[in-house]
Symmetry: C2
Subunit: 136 residues, 2 copies
Amino acid sequence: VTIALTDIDHVGIAVEDLDAAVEEYRRLLGVEPVHRERVEDQGVEEVLFAVGSSYIQLLGALGPDTPVGRALASRGPGVHHVAYRVDDVASALDHLRAQGARLVDEAPRPGSRNTLIAFVHPKTMGGVLVELVEER
Amino acid sequence: VTIALTDIDHVGIAVEDLDAAVEEYRRLLGVEPVHRERVEDQGVEEVLFAVGSSYIQLLGALGPDTPVGRALASRGPGVHHVAYRVDDVASALDHLRAQGARLVDEAPRPGSRNTLIAFVHPKTMGGVLVELVEER
């Protein structure tokens, strides 16, 4: 059994001012964003730009006391997490758990775009907060 | 004219101990790395794991006084840069320059895997050090 990462789903980038960052990316890339969604239970609003089969995800915090708000306060803007696409988040979590990985989410939960997601602790994969994404 | 990012080429992850990180990723992902290369002029040794059409790039510093060595000293391990694949690095740089982007490399230079690359300053794209990669 392997974890079978099928693609990079997205790179999540924490930004101070979501609208300003979206405008900057639109201007630099010359393309329109493909999705915008407010995810209350994660305390973020996200905007996606498509890049091949992956996305650039710009993340604005819904308040200072949210994961992205705290990341902005401590480290400033930049990459917040890397998300890998998998066929089955539950079995990927089982595999990682069996390998002794430190998980943030012990079970899959709903993400944006009607996905199932789970986060893996940054201590596990070289200092990178990792998200697993299953498209449904 | 747009910059036309065709894919995420790789996510570059700075690690303290390259061999230990490679072993950890092998074990967690259950796959072998596809490439290893020492890039003297960038002061790094890189190991690539394939994920769909993209790569996870683990980066070990060749010394403390290198870009990755300094990043490790100041911020610890984690995402060092995000690389986007383009058809033509030179024209992507022209487009970014015309948009007022702050560039690290004013012209394409050789990268690993016989690619042409250029880096864009993190101030330009939301706090993220961006690399453009043209496969040849």
